[in-house]
Amino acid sequence: MTFFMTRAAALHARATALWREARSSLLVVLCLALVVATAMSFVDWRGAIDANDAIEALEQGRDIGVDASARPETLLARIAFLAKRGEIDRARAMVEALNRDESFDLRARGHYLLANALLRKAFDHIQRSELDAANPFVNLAKREYRRALQLAPQYWDAKFNLDVAARLVRDFPDFERKGGDELSVDPKKLWTDIPGKPKGLP
């Protein structure tokens, strides 16, 4: 028992001596480490401020080039800028760059913005009665909305716009095709002609 106590006392004395020896150098190391940490967090802060400035400029409609390695929020602002102007191919390249990020919500928003641009283009074609040209844009938009929802299932704006797009061009799932939505009607009861059609020559 006493042996252990003396051992413990000796250990304690050695630890105290070691601490006294090392304290001076440890303080210097701590100080240097904190200086480095300060510098790094300061750089991070400055980066955040710069990114927010770029986002604000893009929102106000100023064309600012954004690198593909920029922060995801800056990329999103760039995508929104391009999508608003209908530059789909450039926006898509940015969405692919954004997909390297790990935040599902930001990635979902990127797909949503791209899909909105595609759907607006489709509406543009429809208003000019170019239905065949509108068709692929609607389908691409639906695919992008679906991507957005796969990443963020609670993205209500994407749900709503997917509904809008899906009503422009319906896709018919298997169960709908074989399902009995059609009314089985006796052929004799069907109108073979539109009633009220004026007869005779005008």
Binding site: L27, C31, T38, Q150
Partner: protein, 297 residues
């Protein structure tokens, strides 16, 4: 998953061999799903204890039919009352855009189970969930076609507050640590610290290099004063063992102490003008060694 699981209890499939292989589907809510919603279902498969489920026959995550994805499959296995129970937690995602409230079909799948009687398949049957529309069939007329859509929304900003708080916190901590280092080494404004007489002396020596002999004399005297201050009374060579016992941190410097005292004695009382074994450099080294030992005290 959820305690109040509504039991759909769709099926109890009995295999041809009349084994008790049963599959039962439970769903928390079999109705009211919008497009994009997740549908959670739990399939309980029970089998005799010696049966084994082939993992390869589990359904694979991915698109099932055009408007339905299987996102996640989780399997857990347990033994209850001599029967083996497999619990499959399935997560589907609905992409069917409904125009009216209607049921869509979740497709069936087969599970391969090997029992003592041979390989069996359990069919987990198809079941139906109700999906609902998000909008009216005929929405109000809008001026622009794009007005039917939800807008792009505003851009999220980068969080500035957290890095700012971190930078300020780290800066304050670094200043504090620097103050601690300055105190430890008796840098200004801590040079008057009583306990750090040798550090102050070392600073003084490093700024003012002893050139000629008279300055060396003054330097040796100032070291004596510092030693006296540390001792609390005049420290002579004879007092050294006692002093070192009271201040053990200076113990490793015993040889240097003795050299210093003998050199000092010879210089001031022995009449030697050129102390050839004790120069200004050695004195400075002694003082900085004293300062180091003092900091560890």
């Amino acid at each position: 998953m959820r305690i109040a699981c509504l039991v759909l209890a769709l099926v109890a499939t009995l295999s041809a061999a009349a084994q008790e292989l049963t599959a039962r589907i439970r769903s928390a809510r079999p109705f009211g799903y919008f497009v994009g919603d997740l549908i959670h279902a739990r399939v309980d498969v029970s089998a005799p204890q010696n049966a084994a489920l082939s993992r390869a026959s589990l359904p694979k995550p991915g698109p099932l039919i055009g408007s339905l994805d299987l996102r996640d499959v989780k399997l857990s296995e347990s033994v209850e009352n001599g029967a083996r129970l497999w619990r499959l937690d399935l997560t589907y995602q609905n992409f069917y855009v409904a125009l009216d409230a209607r049921d869509i079909e979740i497709p069936s799948f087969d599970l391969a189970i090997s029992t003592a009687a041979g390989a069996e398949t359990v069919k987990v049957p198809a079941w139906r969930v109700g999906v609902s529309p998000l909008r009216e069939v005929a929405p109000q007329k809008q001026e622009e076609a794009t007005d039917y859509m939800r807008p792009d929304g505003s851009a999220p900003f980068v969080d500035e507050a957290t890095p700012r708080r971190l930078a300020i916190g780290a800066g304050v901590a670094a200043l504090l640590a620097f103050a601690l280092v300055a105190r430890d080494r008796a840098w200004p404004p801590f040079q008057r610290r009583r306990a750090r007489v040798f550090s102050a002396l070392a600073n003084e020596f490093s700024t003012r290099r002893a050139g000629d002999d008279s300055e060396l004399d003054a330097a040796i005297q100032s070291v004596h004063r510092a030693l006296d201050t540390t001792n609390g009374a005049t420290l002579l060579a004879a007092d050294l063992p006692d002093f070192l016992r009271r201040r053990p941190e200076f113990g490793p410097l015993r040889m240097d102490f003795e050299r210093f005292f003998s050199a000092s004695k010879r210089r001031f009382f022995g009449g030697e003008q050129l102390g050839d074994d004790f120069h200004a450099e050695q004195l400075a080294q002694f003082v900085s060694a004293l300062a180091r030992r003092e900091r560890s005290g």
